[in-house]
């Protein structure tokens, strides 16, 4: 499963995409994605907020992911 990363989150991870090997790691909810990333990159926990978007909408930790979903990490926004 491919996770898209932007801005400060991309800088922390060091890449604009991060792939979770769903054969190796149990992954099926937004909460799982969040836990896997924060374990691998603890610096993500220092962010003021850390949301996950599924198919371009913010999604709750309970949302179940399918392989076709577009998943992105949304660090604190600062447009305008």
């Amino acid at each position: 499963m491919t996770i898209h990363l932007f801005a400060v989150a991309r800088d922390i991870v060091g890449s604009s995409v991060y792939t979770i090997d769903t054969k190796q790691v149990p992954c099926c909810t937004v909460g799982d994605v969040r836990r896997i990333l924060c374990k691998e990159f603890p610096e993500l926990l220092t962010l003021r907020s850390f949301a996950v978007a599924v198919n371009q909408r913010l999604a709750d930790d309970t949302v179940v992911l399918t392989p076709h979903d577009e998943v992105a990490i949304i660090p604190p926004m600062s447009g305008g």
Partner: protein
Amino acid sequence: MVDTSPFFLLTEQLLDIGSVSKAVQLPHCGAVNLFVGTVRNRTAERSVLYLDYEAYTPMALAVMQDIAMRARMKWQSIEAIALHHRVGRVYAGDIAVVLAVSSPHRTEIFMATDWIMSEVKSSVPIWKKEVYHDGAVWVSAHA
């Protein structure tokens, strides 16, 4: 979800206030309000050289449309809404965002502009990095 209309735009080009204004102008609308956000030369006592804006483009355009739709539901007198936002490198003094709102009369237009700008800042996936002479920070990233 992604719209290439004149109403919602993310662009690396300089923004033009006049064309955003024209996008919302209608013969029966006597009032247009434009909010123009420019890059200040200082933030919290540090000199800003430029900003690097980054967007999650398809989601940003979808959220911009969603905000506009909700604004028109809240204030029935609002007719058209256009929002153009820069991405990429934006220098001090340059325009980063232009929001235009039109209505037959001006009554609700200022409240609507205020609300839309707050929503844009809090929920459109756009990020800015402030670059100084001696470093750079992603704005509002950390507590």
